[in-house]
Amino acid sequence: MRITNLLEIKSVTCTKQERCLFESLSFFLGAGEILQIEGPNGAGKTSLLRIIAGFARPDEGEIFFDTKPISQYYDEFAAQLLFIGHKSGVNGQLSAYENVCHWLQVHGYKVDEQAYELLSKLGLVGLEDAPVRTLSAGQQRRVALVRLWLNDAKLWVLDEPFTALDKKGVILLQGQFAKHLAKGGSILLTTHQDLTTHFDALKTLVLEYQF
């Protein structure tokens, strides 16, 4: 079966502070595929993800989603994108539940009781209404990762999703990855750890540190 290309990165170049991070980088990501981007610190993993998510513009090249350039069809792309960056977009003053509700509303999803149940599923029982800043780093990360259960985006772009998570959390997360891939979604992630679960459609991209 031919996998349709959901995301196409076409000869993308990025320079930061006079240093070329990557030059003429091209790759595809099909539906149901997961791509792990590896590389040492400073190799440009985060920069690449931010370019793909449309926050930064590449010096050269273009990103296509469903064959449409994202710079021109950003709103359509954004509707199919779930981005969780290094900064996870969780407000420390608000409670976990308020954070999830706000995120759902901003992204046009309906708020229902499911959000509350999910927080307990992710091990935040009894902490739903505490200000997030009082939670531990791993718990804060979980508040951000609840979004993975609450969206119908086709493309997930995740920057170091496993940071601060315990082993159980990592397994839980990978289970959700598998479900997303089974539904025909795609995942693009950076991580320093290897994935513990086996994915058939796993591709890896190694970015080298360039001087």
Binding site: R57, S88, G89, N91, E98, G108
Partner: protein, 227 residues
Amino acid sequence: MMNHSYWQLFISVYKKDVTLAFRQRSEIVNPLLFFLIVITLFPLAIGPEPALLTRMAPGIIWVAALLSTMLGLDKLFRDDFNDGSLEQLIASPYPLPLSVLAKVLAHWTTTGLPMVLMAPVFALLMNLEAQALSATVLTLLIGTPLLSFIGAIGAGLTVGLQKGGILMSLLVLPLYIPVLIFATSAIDTSSMSLAYGGQLAILGAMLAIACVCAPIAISSALKVSVN
């Protein structure tokens, strides 16, 4: 369905910022106290003669209003920038100017509106006549949202910088000059018992333009800052 979602986004962003401001009440109270202290400084510096104060009141009240608006502006996008919420707003399928509009209105609700409500007190402190009092309230009512809109452009441009605060004042204060001129002139005119509808109309026109244009400018500024 879609209209409903736009509204949902707007309300959600607005509610979040207002809730946050009410949880840390100092955000609302501090600019007001600052306003009050600045106004207290003037009689101490120039002398307490009532006639002199009446003459200078419009200018003093408005300069104090400009400065206290600036206080809250730096925080307008700073927290959202630091925790990544800004990225989430950009990656939302809805237009960014709409969320920005909600944020600016929330900023006005928490800093501008209290100033409008407190304006009679300030006017009394500065020995302003009754007819000038209503002009003060009206100019602040139309003028402070304008300050929030223009200031948010500067805040959006400097949010990515480590020390953006002073730079932002440098960018924004020259743009505040027309507001200052027309607002103080309206109060001046009213204290001479003349009609000041013209000045208010110009302020209103500027507010209408800012409502439409500023969110677009702020959005593109934020996209540059997030980069």
